[in-house]
Symmetry: C2
Subunit: 460 residues, 2 copies
């Protein structure tokens, strides 16, 4: 009987394990999963909402408990077990029992590495002080909540990306004064162009968050107990008893690297389309694996639950004897800062130029419903298109309720390498409660095509 | 100087006129438009919301007044002028002045026919009674409102399609008891399969509308003044002082037919991709023209503002000396009945079989946001896919707020002839306030692909 071992019990690992089980019965395949934390298959993306009190109970974030995997899928899940070594030649793992103590060897025939990502912790003075948190796991979330419960009137969030913004809002909702510090000149600079980012900055400030842009963190001052009491920044010292690190994360590949498994230029494990690594019997999926970006044609590291689930599914189908491939991503993401929705897909203007495209951009303002229909909300859309061909390269949306999900049309258009000229005619749904007669997506495509034509006239 | 004459001053006609003007200055092109009604460029789709009181002022529905066209676009708009004849050989029109009376001839070099659609009026006893209304123009809407204002406690709506449902809700909102009569066994039968239509029926009844399905209207009883007082149906007589005809509409081609212009099998004017008819110098756009359905590969007549605007744009670009084509539709539409959103695109299961596909269908229930996120609403999605290939053929959605606009992803996928296998991996946006980790669209695609594979195993 084949023995499949899964390292990491969250989205990618458990999706893979379940899919493999769906295709192969317990007599043909033994499945064992090791997870160093206390939980399986939870929504890491939901942690800021739990901390903010929007989601009341931690358990709501758990999609499937270990018992479900054991009883319904015959998957033997071991929580609080950390895999500390892989021997890909002998096909064994070294596993540490974090509760009982001690280590043991576990054999495998097929191995699925799904170790996720780790938050960046910059090498600054005081970084290991108590009260300084990454937000990656439910355990992290619980530690933040414990700290907040023991009294916190002012917090510092380092990094104005998705997690930084979501955590800033979460703490504002708990009545905490929040300083948000970022080296960049505008928030979400990995996701948005500067003009769109400036709109987000205004919303964040309206929320009451004190923004320190273009500001580096220099270090952390700790009290006698080793607890953070202030954050030293280029903008002065900021008092804080809780610090959130939201400066991004990297694929968690320490284990893979130690085992000699291939790690790519983007920092993640390298796989083929079926999620198999170059090492026999070793597969990888989720945040620890690189993904192919279909527009830039580069490999990237993106930590996102929806990608992890898809990759886990693909790995699991293949591990179960089926055939499936993961076709890559177009770089879609979305978030919400208070009432403001922010979404993007594809490449920003600069990113597009970086990979060799020449571009035209067009920004339009429109509404989520017919202008005369009650509840019509404003939105701004920016489209990046290739010069001359008009190929859609990317889109960004900042707006109120009903704005952001429209990014999915751009994502689907990018997936199919559509031109804005083709996109502008797509038969999107229209009725006054849902859209102006020209949906904003179509307006943006139409004006982008106009810009491509105008550019062609000037630069034939 | 070329003289462009436009017949019909609504979406298609005025879009065409404006586009032509954008490309050619007033010295190169004279543009004249004749409109038999009192208004230009208004949102016919907004009429039910005006009647229901959701939109307060009729003028909110008017996108551009005649003065705007005159002053900003140098388009000479003549309201209350009806074109009663076309001589395509002599390139002249016969125009009747509905206010001053009298007729005159008007020459043209290029003619854009944008005469819209006319509501079906079944040939039943009493059909011409006062109080029996189609809802197509602002003038129609005003007449309905006038009738309601003079006292109406009970109304009958004939036809449970988009307009019928929207008008039923509008009148319920005004405190009127509404009977909705339809020959079909479920509402929206041109848009939905029976299982999805049954969900809509439940919502309509929950709204307080009395549904008479599988019921034909036999005639209308009029009082001594020629005013409707009851509707005779197979389900008995229904008292009503206002009757709304919502049984669909047909391209308004009487003028075209009289002039010997080509009318197709679907009842609309025939055009090429540039919206030019087979007759020299004559173009057509909007509800009066047929459209090519990209999935069924058949020509159809669809009355929808968003299509009219797109076709008008294409005609206008070509009339202005540019080059643009209208690539067809995939049959997308959307509406809302109280809190229930309904959308569809592509082909229903039966429609697909009618044009020769063999299909698998799959229906999934999911939520608009992560299940644990506040405000997550239920939705049901049905996907129709081709057997064996898994090509997406259509999708239907019934659900609460945030459900329906997801149809646009299916529409874009259909446009690109995607398979559900390809669609299930598309990089749609995910964050807990916006979607479960697998967006419902992806779940529906994934399960459909599973159904295709299962079917292939049984019927290889």
């Amino acid at each position: 009987m084949t023995r499949l071992v899964v390292v990491g019990g969250d989205a990618a690992g458990m999706s893979g394990a379940s899919q493999a089980r769906r295709r192969r019965g317990p007599d043909a395949l033994e499945i064992v999963a090791f997870e160093r934390g206390h939980f399986t298959s939870y929504s890491a993306c939901g942690i800021p909402y739990w901390i903010g009190g929007v989601v009341e109970d931690r358990d709501e974030l758990i999609a499937r408990a270990p018992e479900t995997f054991r009883d319904d899928y015959a998957i033997d899940v071991h929580l609080r077990h950390e895999v500390v070594g892989i021997d890909p030649v002998g096909r064994t793992l070294r596993v540490r029992d974090l509760e009982a103590g001690g280590e043991r060897d576990e054999p495998y025939d097929e191995l699925l590495v799904a170790t996720g990502a780790v938050p960046y912790r910059p090498d600054l003075p005081g970084i290991d002080g108590a009260g300084i948190h990454g937000v990656q796991t439910l355990d992290d979330g619980q530690r933040v909540l414990d700290d907040l419960a023991s009294g916190c009137s002012q917090a510092v969030v380092v990094g104005a990306g998705y997690i930084g913004l979501e955590m800033a809002e979460a703490m504002v909702q708990r009545g905490i004064h929040v300083h948000l510090v970022d080296r960049g000149t505008y928030p979400m600079k990995l996701a948005l162009d500067a003009d769109m980012g400036a709109m987000v900055a205004r919303e964040v400030e309206a929320l009451g968050v004190q923004l320190h842009l273009g500001t580096s963190v220099l270090g952390f001052d700790l009290d006698a107990d080793g607890r953070v009491e202030s954050v030293a920044t280029e903008d002065g010292d900021l008092h804080a008893t809780v610090v959130i690190l939201g400066i991004g994360n990297a694929p968690n590949v320490a284990l893979a690297r130690d085992a000699g498994l291939e790690v790519g230029a983007a920092g993640g494990m390298v796989t083929d389309r079926r999620m198999h690594t170059p090492t026999d019997g070793v597969w990888a999926a989720g945040d620890c694996a690189e993904v192919f970006h279909r527009v830039s044609r580069r490999s990237m590291a993106i930590a996102l639950g929806t990608i992890a689930n898809k990759q886990g599914r693909v790995a699991g189908i293949n591990l179960g004897g089926g055939y499936a491939t993961f076709p890559g991503v177009v770089g879609t993401s979305v978030t919400k800062v208070c009432g403001t929705e922010v979404a993007r897909t594809g490449l920003g203007a600069e990113e597009a130029c970086d990979v060799g495209f020449e571009v035209v951009t067009e920004t339009v303002r429109s509404t989520t419903r017919a202008g005369y229909y009650p509840g019509a909300k404003e939105l701004t859309m920016k489209v990046v298109a290739e010069k001359r061909t008009g190929r859609l390269l990317g889109a960004q949306i900042v707006g109120e309720e009903g704005a952001a999900k429209r990014i999915d049309v751009f994502a689907t258009a990018l997936w199919n390498e559509m031109t804005v000229d083709d996109l502008l005619n797509v038969d999107l749904s229209y009725a006054p409660p849902f859209s102006p007669v020209w949906d904003p997506v179509l307006i943006a495509a139409r004006k982008s095509w106009q810009a491509v034509e105008d550019d062609l006239r000037v630069n034939p």
